[in-house]
């Protein structure tokens, strides 16, 4: 306690630098999906859109529109199309504008 106090007085800072080091406890958190765009076909995407209980997934022509903000990490899209969906492992997803959270993934599986 006296050490910390002395250090704080010397440096003029009383709060911790964050993050000091990466946290490994995050390894098992459920996170939003990442899509293998080369495996995505229109049928697959339609199945995934139907499986999503919220409004996170939708298809616009040849693009899968993924609203990260609406995703609840329920995993139903992964159940519907396991070969096209992987876990992104990202959970630090804060954004200063809503539009940044809407991602577009090209559907490449139909291409020759």
């Amino acid at each position: 306690m006296p050490l910390w106090f002395a250090r704080g007085l010397r440096r003029g800072v009383v709060t911790t630098r964050y993050p000091a080091r990466p946290d490994d406890s995050a390894a098992w958190l459920p996170t939003p999906p990442a899509f293998r765009s080369r495996r995505l076909t229109r049928d697959l995407v339609d199945r995934m859109v139907a499986a999503c209980p919220g409004t996170a997934l939708s298809r616009r022509d040849d693009t899968l529109v993924f609203d990260v903000g609406a995703c609840t990490s329920c995993g139903r899209c992964a159940e519907a199309a396991p070969e096209a969906v992987a876990s992104s492992g990202e959970f630090e997803l804060a954004a200063t504008s809503r539009s940044v959270l809407i991602k577009e993934i090209p559907i490449r599986g139909d291409e020759p």
């Binding site: 800072v13 009383v14 709060t15 911790t16 964050y18 946290d23 995050a26 958190l29 939003p32 999906p33 990442a34 899509f35 293998r36 765009s37 080369r38 495996r39 919220g54 409004t55 996170a56 693009t63 993924f66 609203d67 990260v68 903000g69 609406a70 995703c71 609840t72 990490s73 329920c74 969906v85 992987a86 992104s88 990202e90 959970f91 630090e92 997803l93 804060a94 954004a95 200063t96 809503r98 940044v100 959270l101 991602k103 577009e104 993934i105 090209p106 490449r108």
Partner: protein, 166 residues
């Protein structure tokens, strides 16, 4: 639409003010607009020793008059409109509004006679934190972004697993 030079400058100055004022001492007021309370449990965990909010200089306060940041959860039930606006107005400026959880971001409930659907309909939100619920680490990151201590990661993320760019 790219912001003009003046707007970018103003935004930068605001960011700097907020970082200078709130970076190491922030008072957070939580607002539950009809959530299932799991987001609240994650928020409560922030005070626990493992995540320890206080080491960053962030504190929870019940009084909006003392608050700098409004942390909103829930889909903004219409019955809560007045209370939400009153809470926001009771906070002295400068103030930051952070909406967190899929409900608050509009992903769970559609707009209907009882619910707005997302918090942005009623309050001017500055930072969105996705998650259902957002883990305490996600919340810490979001709060850090809100005060300018940490950088956003989402603009750089594509959510494409096999490198195929869009």
């Amino acid at each position: 639409m790219t912001p003009s030079l003046d707007e970018a400058e103003a935004a930068r100055r605001l960011r700097d003010t907020i970082a200078a004022q709130f970076g190491r001492s922030l008072h957070i007021r939580t607002l539950d607009t009809g959530s299932c309370a799991v987001c609240e449990q994650e928020i409560r965990l922030l005070s626990a020793p493992h995540y320890d909010l206080h080491r960053l200089g962030f504190f929870f306060t019940p009084a909006p008059r003392h608050a700098d940041l409004l942390l909103v959860t829930g889909p903004m039930v219409r019955a809560f409109d007045v209370a939400a606006r009153k809470t926001y107005e009771a906070m002295p400026g400068p103030k930051v509004v952070v909406a967190t959880g899929a409900c608050a971001l509009g992903g769970v409930y559609p707009k209907d006679p009882f619910v707005h659907g997302d918090v942005g309909q009623v309050l001017p939100v500055d930072v969105w934190i996705p998650g259902c619920p957002p883990s305490p680490l996600a919340l810490l990151h979001g709060l850090g972004v809100a005060v300018g201590r940490l950088a956003e990661k989402t603009p750089g993320l594509t959510f494409i697993a096999d490198g195929g760019q869009g």
